[in-house]
């Protein structure tokens, strides 16, 4: 009894024991089971699998074909919503791309042209000017010029139109739900699991039902974008309102505010900086969705990237991809500047008139001088075959070295880890996850982990889930290995920070498909290419949180270290790193989340994980399979999140105890 007690209490014994047992089972259970003919040990018996996917597909069919609210069929309701969203979208699109048209399809006749490229660029520059920062005007102007000069104008405006609709929808919806959660604890309790799922279920999983409900075309893509981009806004709104100092609310109440006035006149303005972080996230995530949205009919820059890469036109893919990055940067910096602008300052009314004048002047001039209306095709630049030639040169001259490194990593790291995870018998996997959850945060989390892992085994996705865990695990390990030192560097040096911020923005918005194809050319189809793509995308929070953690350290602590004669190395390892550890763990948590969200993309280079299952379900329009596999991904993400959160909390508590 005491031995068992000690085993549970002593962390080294517990974790060591758990790992040793898992390793032993992973190595020997498979062969042993084969010898005694018990196949069910490794493979969950098929007859016992829950036919959940078929149930969901049937329910979906019923919902679309038979469900009705009174005389209104469910289908009619979703189509009505679709029309509601489509109307403003078409209006914005008309303004930016199509102009004012009469008639449908090829009968359409343009009555008025869209805003000219000069007008659009000027309007955005004026918005930047309003914030009173000259540097920003230059940046925004350069971004829009890039779109025109590289011949991406029309696609970029189509993408801009969908962003201009989806971002306000995401922000408004997010703020509304966030306020609801702030006011009513029950709403928050109800919303938390939904938000978790929205953030972790891969987009492809709910694309099929959305297509069925909202029809083919831009609306379905807009709805999917909003679902994907809204959760951070909800969370940040609730958090921001809660962090408003009690004194501010008190002052409002004393001044006789009503509940509504208190919220809109006191709390929200005070919470504005944090709300703007949410807006930034919504913009970034919306632009992240551009590629996936283009797969279901949104067109725009995402479609350019896809078609270019299908022809192996790497240069075209890079140019279109960079156009997305450029647009993200312009919109993000503008929204940040707008948030920081003190109301009442800057230049106001006059700018509206300048803007209108430019629109009218360029539209009128456009009839006489076509280049004013549309950027002339003859004057566009292209990087042409430079990219393809660069890749070819690397491919021919450096391939042997690349191959050697790749094989070493593959044999030394990837394959052993894969073998380890694939060898774990499902029943032990369930028990082990339960034990880990219980050890980290009590029986509730233990039970939850037990049920979620059980769900994965029961729905028959165990092997795919293990490949997912292996691929994400290895990628997160590599991302942390590279990202944390970079983050520490950025946290200590301002110059490094500037360089790395630009890198981070690019990595976050450059569609991974753009670099995936060159990666495949150099590393072939397989897990290694997938790992590179996942690392490139998920390294962002690893860098960001490490830098944040280092920067937040109380300077007195470092001072104390210097006074007591620590070397630089000692200061880093003995003082800074331990103090930044909770922040590193939060960063790791985010890295895991991003890695999991990249799974669907890695399916495009042929991995055999849950992402592939979701992707297959999409191409076969199999609602049930997509949602069930998507839920499995979400459950893995939620378990990791809870366990790491508990770990970070434990560490902070431990620290407080010492201090």
């Amino acid at each position: 009894m005491t031995a068992l007690h000690r085993l549970i209490r002593d962390p080294r014994l517990f974790w060591g024991g758990l790992f040793a047992l898992t390793l032993a089972l992973s190595l020997f259970a498979g062969d042993l089971a084969k010898d005694i003919g018990a196949k069910w040990v490794m493979k969950f018996p098929k007859p016992l699998e829950l036919p959940l996917d078929k149930l969901i597909s049937a329910a979906m069919k019923w919902l679309l074909e038979e469900a009705a609210i009174g005389p209104l069929s469910f289908h009619a309701v979703t189509r009505f919503i679709s029309a509601l969203i489509e109307a403003p979208y078409l209006a914005v699109r008309g303004l930016l791309v199509d102009g004012l048209q009469r008639g449908q399809g090829s009968y359409a006749v343009q009555i008025l042209p869209p805003l000219s490229w000069i007008a659009v660029t000027t309007i955005f520059c004026l918005l930047a000017w309003r914030s009173g920062r000259r540097g920003l005007v230059g940046l925004v102007g350069a971004c829009f010029l890039y779109l025109a000069v590289f011949g991406r104008w029309e696609s970029a405006m189509a993408t801009l139109a969908s962003v201009l609709i989806s971002v306000p929808m995401g922000v408004a919806g997010g703020v509304a739900l966030g306020i609801l959660a702030f006011r009513h604890p029950w709403a928050e309790r109800a919303m938390r699991p939904v938000l978790d799922l929205m953030q972790t279920v891969p987009v492809f999983a709910y694309l099929v039902p959305i297509l069925f409900m909202f029809g083919f075309g831009p609306t379905a893509a807009l709805v999917a974008t909003v679902i994907y981009a809204m959760p951070p806004m909800v969370r940040l709104t609730t958090l921001a309102l809660r962090e408003v100092p009690e004194e501010v609310a008190e002052a409002g109440r004393m001044a006789g505010c009503t509940r509504r006035q208190l919220l809109w006149k006191c709390l929200i303005p005070t919470a504005m900086p944090m709300l703007m972080v949410g807006v930034n996230q919504v913009i970034m995530l919306s632009l992240n969705m551009v590629i996936i949205a283009s797969m279901i009919g949104a067109g725009g820059l995402g479609y350019d990237v896809l078609t270019a890469l299908r022809k192996l036109d790497i240069g075209g893919g890079v140019e279109a991809g960079v156009a997305i990055v450029v647009m993200a940067i312009a919109l993000d910096r503008l929204s940040q500047a707008e948030a920081r602008r003190v109301p009442g300052t800057g230049r106001g009314g006059r700018l509206v008139w300048i803007g209108l004048a430019v629109i009218l002047a360029t539209s009128a001039l456009g009839y006489v001088l076509p280049f004013v209306q549309t950027y002339p095709a003859g004057a566009t630049l292209t990087t042409g075959t430079i990219w393809a030639q660069a890749i070819e040169w690397i491919n021919i001259n450096l391939y042997d070295h690349i191959e050697a490194v790749k094989v070493a990593i593959l044999i030394g790291l990837l394959l052993p880890v894969k073998g380890f995870f694939l060898g774990i018998p499902w029943a032990w996997g369930i028990v082990a996850m339960g034990l880990i959850g219980w050890r980290m945060a009590g029986w509730r989390l233990g039970l939850m982990a037990l049920l979620m892992t059980g769900f994965i085994a029961l729905t028959g996705f165990w092997p795919e889930a293990m490949i997912t865990v292996y691929l994400c695990g290895v990628s997160v390990f590599v991302a942390m290995l590279i990202g944390v030192p970079l983050g520490i560097w950025a946290g200590q040096s301002d110059r490094a920070n500037t360089v790395l911020s630009a890198l981070i923005d690019t990595l976050q918005t450059l569609p991974s498909f753009v670099y995936l194809i060159p990666v495949v050319m150099l590393f072939r189809v397989g897990d290694f290419s997938a790992m590179i793509a996942v690392v490139a995308y998920s390294i962002v929070p690893a860098i960001r949180y490490a830098a944040h953690g280092i920067r937040e350290i109380d300077p007195q602590m470092v001072e104390a270290g210097i006074v007591s004669g620590c070397t630089r190395r000692q200061i880093l390892w003995r003082i800074k790193l331990p103090l930044a550890l909770p922040s590193l763990i939060v960063g790791m948590n985010q890295t895991v989340m991003l890695a999991l969200s990249m799974l669907v993309i890695t399916a495009l280079v042929g991995t055999r994980d849950l992402g592939q299952q979701v992707y297959m379900a999409l191409t076969k329009a199999n609602t049930g399979q997509g949602i069930v596999a998507g839920l499995c991904v979400a459950f893995i993400a939620i378990m990791v999140d809870r366990i790491l959160t508990a770990a970070a909390r434990g560490m902070e508590r431990g620290e407080a105890g010492h201090g």
Partner: protein
Amino acid sequence: MTFLTKAPACLLAMLLATTAHAEVESTDPIKLTLHDWTGQLITTTIMGDVLKKAGYNVEYVQADYLAQFAGMRTGDLDVAMELWATTAKEALDEAVATGDVVNMGETGMKAIEEWWYPSYMEESCPGLPNWEALKDCAEAFSTPETAPKGRYLGGPVTWGGYDEERVEALGLDFEVVHAGTDAALFAELEAAYQRKDPIILWIYSPHWAPAKYEGKFVEFPAYSKECYEDPAVGLNPDMAYDCGKPSGPIYKAAWKGVDAKWPGAAKAIRAFTLTNEDMGAMVGAVDLDGKTVEDVAADWVAKNEAIWSAWIK
């Protein structure tokens, strides 16, 4: 000033346009689906151009290849111009069985899908293109991850193709690796071709790849339905799939309402045919020479008036 004088002119032009089109059965736009490979875009654009010549209103809609059947069943989408027997036959038959979708016949193009290798591989594996050569030189196609087995790069899992089964049934010492998308598939071919590295992979035609790279399809025992379904048929008495892949027609399909709403257009869609050679050349013009799909399609329409005017008669 120019603007003010131009606007009424536009309105007038629009009115005239509406009257000019009144002779077709319905002026609602016919929605043709676009996918993401060049051949399909060309086929669809040619059909659209011809329908426009006949006075029909045409609209192009981006839609996923297999997910589009859901749209065609409800009438959200009207016409799909390229449904390959090799990849979409099951989905097409299923949709036709519901009664909401109509098979509009063959496009005249033949889909070929098979194992393919670049010509330089004949040096290290002299017996090719006969498939039996692969039995002895699997190692020539190996990579560090698969050695001593050969590595065969298959299409995305969703394409099916039964390559794992084929390898086992024919006793080939190969490991099947699936590319996730066809972009990845051809990226790997391009890279291997640059280095003259060993590669054997799934290629389909009509496509630009067989035109750009020098190589051949492997000749497997000819496909038959029985060979896929009956283990006893074929070289291996105990296993099915001991033969090559099927090749088959590329079909067109439409929402059932098209016949009633635009009878003339339906007739034209049924009559539409192109040959593999024409299509191969046009795909090459777009993907290799960098012309736009619109230009290439318009070029075909301009040069072949005798052919398409018969479709819309």
